[in-house]
Symmetry: C2
Subunit: 445 residues, 2 copies
């Protein structure tokens, strides 16, 4: 973790805030000026992509401005999320200039690539042995963290807070409460240089298992709603493929990676080849994961976990893989978190009754995961529990599928969206606080 920016914990002053707002104002002014420039027709071939160059620059600069939150002891990712919330909701003030960014497929792709790169980096920084050592506890945490919110959502709080919906609707609500989105937690641990903690390893492991469980739940729930019955065979195949992929990529990967490294180093032994091999391995595993129905980030994490400096001993370049991938992270990761923040529609929070119900559901969503931390064994259980709280886009996938099946109503959809918003923005603050509260002797870097 030596390679991350050092957090400047200097005097928190009004100066920082002035700088911050000055920057935002400058960027907004530049945008306004830019879009008011007349199209003179003399730019036939350039310009289509070029405006995206501008957007990327703006997102990256805003992300860096937002890292001023570090002066207030918060992880940089919180700043990026909040900056995204601000940019994404300027429409409420009549400023629609940033809206094209939200709907641009290229920015969306760069954001998704960003979170894949992030989890690949996290995998590289993680230790497969350490992760294996907490395997059983991670499995327990994942199971409890899936079963408790699912049962509470489907059979208790759903029917109680939102009476009169179909049983399928409650099923989808329960399912949407299960899936952990590990990107935010991973970034918090990374920002605060705590990825080495056993708590971080448990959360990472549990998130991977959680994704497999989520896949099974999605298949079961979809089958119940559409066919009316569960095919045990189909579920077994889905589960088998997912487990096979995870075990296979880690076991086979460890056998194949060094051989591939040796083979490719014969073609070329510089940093470029090293970088290409590593990133291609990550991207291909991300793609295979998606073929099976797992999140691409699970594949990228597995790839990072498998790759080890020893696989690159045939290469000459003095720079290690982490430092070669890092600039790609600088470029892409902030795009993911700002775009995630931009997806938070504050308008959703305007509907009073829906908001109240949503907060009730959110409490259950939080409690279900925090309870899971209790089975994490001899570690800081609160940290594990809160680490599992973020739902991010995974819960949204469930809600969207449910809506497309005609099962999830508009109100229920809003409730799920609000739960996701709150579970996106709150955990970074709590995690940072928990990590600082229990100051344990630090490992010397």
């Amino acid at each position: 973790m030596k390679s991350l920016d050092s957090i400047t914990q200097s005097k928190v002053g009004s100066r920082s805030l002035v700088l911050f707002y000055l920057g935002i104002i400058l960027v907004v002014l530049a945008m306004a000026a830019a879009f008011s420039l007349p199209e003179d027709g003399s730019t036939p071939a350039h310009g289509a992509s070029a405006v995206i160059f501008l957007w990327i620059a703006i997102l990256l600069l805003v992300a860096k401005f937002s890292s001023l939150v570090e002066r207030f002891g918060q992880p940089a990712v919180l700043g990026e999320l909040l900056a995204g919330v601000v940019l994404g909701n300027l429409g409420m003030l009549g400023l629609h200039m940033f809206e094209p960014i939200m709907h641009d497929p290229i920015i969306a792709f760069l954001a998704e690539l960003g979170v894949v790169i992030l989890l690949f980096q996290i995998g590289l920084e993680s230790n497969i042995k350490k992760l294996g050592a907490v395997g059983v506890r991670a499995f327990l945490v994942a199971c409890v963290g899936v079963v408790v919110p699912f049962v509470l959502g489907t059979y208790v709080v759903g029917p109680w807070l939102m009476p009169g919906l179909s049983s399928s609707a409650y099923l989808f609500l329960g399912a949407a409460l299960t899936a952990t989105s590990v990107g935010i937690t991973a970034r918090v641990f990374q920002d605060l240089k705590k990825l080495d903690l056993p708590e971080a390893q448990i959360v990472l492991g549990a998130a991977v298992i959680d994704d497999v469980l989520g896949l099974i739940i999605l298949a079961v729930v979809s089958a119940i709603v559409t066919v009316g019955a569960i095919s045990v065979g189909a579920i077994s195949i889905i589960t088998g493929k997912a487990v096979l992929f995870l075990v296979g990529s880690i076991v086979l990967g460890q056998i194949i990676a060094p051989r591939l490294g040796q083979l490719f180093s014969r073609i070329h032994s510089g940093s470029g080849m090293k970088f290409t091999l590593a990133i291609s391995f990550g991207l291909i595993l991300a793609w295979i994961a998606s073929l099976i129905g797992l999140a691409p980030i699970v594949g990228a994490f597995a790839a990072g976990l498998v790759l080890d400096p020893v696989h690159f001993r045939f290469f000459k370049g003095e720079r290690n893989i982490e430092s070669l991938i890092e600039p790609l992270g600088y470029f892409l990761v902030p795009i993911f978190f700002i775009v995630t923040g931009m997806g938070v529609k504050l308008e959703t929070l305007m509907n009073g009754p829906v908001l109240l119900v949503a907060l009730g559901i959110t409490v259950v969503a939080f409690a279900g995961k925090i309870v899971a931390g209790a089975v994490a064994g001899d570690v800081r259980k609160w940290l594990v529990g809160w680490g599992m709280v973020p739902r991010g886009e995974v819960g949204l996938i469930f809600a969207t599928i449910g809506r497309s099946l005609g099962v999830v109503t508009d109100d229920l959809f809003s409730v799920i969206v609000i739960m996701i918003i709150v579970s996106t923005v709150v955990p970074p603050i709590i995690l940072a606080w928990l990590l600082k509260r229990d100051v344990i002797p630090q490992v010397i870097a």
Copy 2:
């Protein structure tokens, strides 16, 4: 140039070739297997982007395999272009699996971003004083290299080889012969670590001026064809804006960059901020260039030229800008050259009469630029002349506009495309040969 892969000039053996073809076969097999996997509907949210992850991995791995051309003394960029030609023309063998890559807007964007990053890197590696020292000669080379092909194409060889077309058609032919595409030449000099040569500086400077001249020619030719007359005022404004941008970005940039560096270093002084500032500066200048009608790469080059290590003296990170940008180059630059190669349609070469005419035009296209090398002063004139030969996508822009105006016929379009193909593939070979023939005492790295 220390940071580039060291070229392994080891024994040229059949082994390399076996490895090369083995790699290509493996990749093709993997693709075939991949696309034959059934879509089981269980991948609702993942998968849309994930297949692009696979494509990127394939392009990067193919690019690295293709760097085996270095064993034959060729620059890596030639391998990437040829690998692209192979991938792009597998359709002739009935293999259409790579065709989606060519038509994907995200890959196209990454390619364009790639050449922007490349010219930004070239700008960073270039020295503004050295470039200024060759300024007059670069200006002469650019002017001769624009006037000679334009006059020959419009008034001599065009009417002679393709009689019976409208005078507007010859105008567009002449215009298409003028524009230098600097990406290929820059990569060759970079690959062979010769960017420091005065010849390289002259070609870079001339290419920038060439882009301004191309803008003026496009405006003039379009005006003649559509309005029938040239508005001196409009041309002056276009020229003025372009010159103002170039002079302004370099002069103002040198004043503003260090101040911005100091300001931003107060927010954060790590490598991430350093990277973000540099890349954002490059992207914003690329965007402004495109607003004016210049190629984004000209803006990126100017940005790289302006940035200097001294602007980052307030930052703590021990890594310099070049080494932070480099991995982004590893990731994006090969995509540009492979996609460029994929654009080469070998079918175009099948039409005998068109091919013959095209080769005649190509000779003129080459000669017009090589002659320009003669005014480069006391340097290796052949090197400068050949460095100006590649036309790349710039000539294609002229041809496309001409066709959309109904002026350029299908045959004339094919002729221009063939000229571009030949001017893309031949110069890297000649440049590598010229650079090796005249072995001059090397600067010790």
